[in-house]
């Protein structure tokens, strides 16, 4: 097992990429710690699957290097890389039993049958597949098939990393919870590096220790779920993570103090150098907006229930501000005001978080 590093990686599916838009991945330097649980999060078409396929060797990058430890594996074929991958749609070998499916990667690598038997049973136990071990794989439900796909990766003793490409797409919501917590449990038991590609922020944040947010072929931010949630470096991260996403309010500057709706807004970071004063926005998550007696006056447009809490959709003029309240909290009929939690209110210039260094 070893660290996986990407050095100056670029990739285009075209032979002669002419402009920026032709690159599916634009310049990437990343290190994946051995044994970490990572998520690659971004909208479809952002390049996250390309990145995953480069790591597994299914795609050779146009430029740059992939290193496993100190070894350059950029051009090494997939089957020699000790990588396992689970795909969006479950891949099982239809004609085989569950047992033979699990044994397949080991048999291909010439393991002894006794060894194989021990490992198959172990893996089946980890994944709760013991009952159907001798059934034909083709007749099983989607979640069992996905477990088999995962099992074929887990069973190999030599695996450097297990890659997941939106593995829960075809799974029913109530089973997603079960499978996801199973994955976390397995990660703790097995300790191999796991990289999980998804467009679903809940999946990314709940699975990973570190989330890599990708937008348009570039890494926008790498951080723990908490960092991404509390301190998005870019308004894209603010919007993409969290449901509903971060509120972004146009902001004016008066003697270096940010103003919204004519009122001073206290923020966690501050503006000092004037060159930063381009397209200023205040970012505050709905979780950190609360109803109050005074503050910014708003009009309630809609309230929707999510079960645990309610989303209140409000307007101040044309500006849309959403906030979350608990299921018991009541909303005043009129004269609604809101305030922001200063510790979780940030100021952004041209989409980027105004850095603390300039504070």
């Amino acid at each position: 097992m070893s660290k996986i590093s990407l050095r100056g990686l670029r990739h285009s599916y075209l032979d002669n990429p002419a402009n920026d838009a032709d690159w599916a991945l634009k310049s990437m330097d990343l290190d994946w710690r051995d044994g970490g649980a990572y998520a690659l999060l971004g909208p479809s078409g952002c390049g996250k699957t390309t990145l995953l396929n480069i790591i597994s060797g299914l795609v050779v990058p146009s430029e740059g290097q992939v290193l496993f430890g100190d070894q350059d594996v950029t051009k090494m074929p997939t089957d020699q890389r000790n990588i396992a991958q689970v795909f969006q749609f479950p891949v099982v070998y239809d004609t085989m039993t569950v047992y033979d499916n699990l044994a397949f990667p080991l048999r291909n690598r010439g393991f002894a049958e006794d060894d194989i038997d021990v490992r198959v049973r172990e893996t089946a136990q980890t994944l709760d597949l013991e009952k159907t071990l001798f059934n034909r794989a083709s007749g099983l439900t989607a979640d069992s098939k996905q477990k088999i796909s995962l099992g074929r990766g887990l069973i190999r003793p030599d695996v450097n990393a297990i890659l997941f490409d939106e593995p829960l797409t075809v799974i029913d919501p109530h089973l997603k919870w079960v499978l996801r917590s199973k994955l976390k449990e397995i990660h703790r038991q097995v300790g191999s590096t796991m990289i999980y590609v998804t467009h679903d922020q809940t999946e990314a944040l709940t699975f990973a220790d570190k989330v890599v947010v990708i937008h348009d072929g570039t890494v926008v931010q790498i951080g723990t779920p908490i960092e991404l949630f509390e301190k998005p470096k870019h308004t894209f991260v603010g919007h993409f993570i969290g449901s509903p996403g971060m509120n972004l309010l146009p902001c004016e500057l008066n003697n270096g103090v940010p103003l919204f709706a004519g009122q001073v807004v206290e923020t966690e970071n501050g503006i000092h150098s004037p060159q930063e004063c381009q397209n200023l926005e205040i970012g505050v998550r709905p979780e950190f907006v609360s109803l109050s007696e005074s503050g910014i006056p708003v009009k309630v447009v809609n309230v929707s229930d999510t079960g645990p809490h309610r989303i209140v959709d409000t307007r101040h003029g044309d500006v849309r501000i959403k906030l979350l309240i608990t299921e018991d909290e009541s909303i005043p009929a009129d004269n609604v005001h809101i305030t922001f939690d200063p510790a979780h209110t940030q100021i952004y210039a041209d989409g980027w978080l105004v850095s603390e260094a300039s504070k």
């Binding site: 109530h174 976390k184 703790r188 709940t206 079960g307």
Partner: protein, 355 residues
């Protein structure tokens, strides 16, 4: 407008897909069919559309028996999970296609398509082909086609399931507005409880070919008729366990018990099943109705705004969800706080004990 199922049964060969169902869907808002894969959502939609005929029973629409009437004669429109558009038509022609079939004059087609594409934010894309659109735009086109013919009944079969999370959020936000001032009955199938809650309206919970409950969405979420309905309408899954009521105490096992609240006093002593939603179990102590129970932490998930902890209770795993970030060591035994005023109690027939 109303749509009514009268004792409808659907069998294919010896397999029953829909057991005897009575259901009356009223105009206004969304009517949601909530259930897992193979629970019968799609079969119900096909019966409503007239793509399928019930084995027995009758289907009434606006006071008329339409049981044998085929889909073509019903003025229904349908949107599927997969993005279905004519690949060699432009967006405009795609939207206009149902009107062309009904031989509407061109000027009227133009004005109708313009109107509906504005509603769905498709105006700048009208001259493109579907292959040049993103998933969200393709599904908007499919929605526009369903809306343009002013159908009496619009059926949506998990229309957002194939979209990215954020696109799903965006379109879901718009749906109530899109359908807001239309006089049609909207039936929306989904497998996601949160989607049902956010769309509001009325919900029918489905389980293995049976409608287990039908009513106002937020009402049936908070007052499920029986354990099955509660399970269908819960994400993450509702925690449940057998408990014993004896005098003033509910006992789950030797270690876990809590007092009977005043409002539960009328319950007879005996065995019940308790159901409690994850967000009513917190890792933080709170109000007076909280009772603490001990559990062994199995996994934790932090989504930024919420901490989800899976923990062992007896031989089961329960889930707790609390706001904020509260790191807990895995494998540790800690206190969880149960809001006992929110507990749902089900009798031996798994029906909710009404209070």
């Amino acid at each position: 407008m109303s749509l009514e199922f009268k004792n409808i049964v659907k069998r294919v060969d010896s397999e029953t897909h829909i057991y005897a169902t009575d259901l009356k869907i009223e105009d206004g808002g969304f009517n949601i069919l909530l259930g897992t894969t193979l629970s019968g959502k799609t079969t119900l939609l096909h019966l409503m559309a007239g793509l399928d005929k019930p084995t027995s029973g009758e289907l009434w629409f606006n006071g008329k028996n339409v049981t044998g009437v085929p889909a073509q004669k019903r003025n229904v429109s349908m949107v599927h999970q997969q993005f279905i558009n004519y690949p060699n038509f432009t967006v405009f022609e795609n939207i206009a296609s149902p009107l062309r079939i009904s031989r509407m004059p061109s000027p009227e087609i133009n004005s109708r398509v313009q109107k509906v594409s504005e509603l769905l934010k498709l105006t700048p894309l009208l001259q493109r082909n579907p292959s040049e659109l993103s998933g969200g735009q393709q599904q908007r086109t499919a929605l526009a086609r369903a809306l343009v013919k002013d159908a009496d009944l619009v059926l949506l079969d998990e229309p957002l399931a194939n979209l990215d999370f954020k696109l799903r959020e965006e379109l879901r936000d718009e749906l109530p507005r899109i359908f807001g001032d239309r006089h049609c009955t909207v039936v929306y199938a989904t497998s996601e409880p949160s989607e049902a809650l956010l769309l509001g309206g009325h919900t029918a919970t489905l389980h293995e070919g049976r409608v287990t409950q039908f009513g106002e969405t937020s009402k049936i979420y908070r007052h499920p008729k029986d354990l099955q309905s509660a399970k269908v309408f819960s994400d993450p899954p509702i925690n449940s366990a057998k408990i014993e009521k004896q005098g003033g105490t509910f006992t789950l096992n030797e270690a876990i018990s809590w007092p009977v609240l005043e409002k539960h006093n009328t319950m007879r002593d005996g065995t019940y099943t308790v159901g409690i939603r994850p967000h009513h179990i917190s890792t933080l102590a709170g109000s007076e109705n909280m009772t603490s129970i001990k559990g062994k932490v199995v996994t934790t998930e932090f989504s930024g705004s919420e901490s989800t902890v899976h923990f062992g209770v007896g031989d089961q795993t329960w889930v707790s969800q609390s706001r904020g970030i509260h790191p807990i060591e895995i494998g540790a035994t800690t206190d969880f706080y149960l809001d006992i005023s929110r507990c749902l109690y089900f009798d031996t027939n798994n029906e909710l004990v009404s209070l």
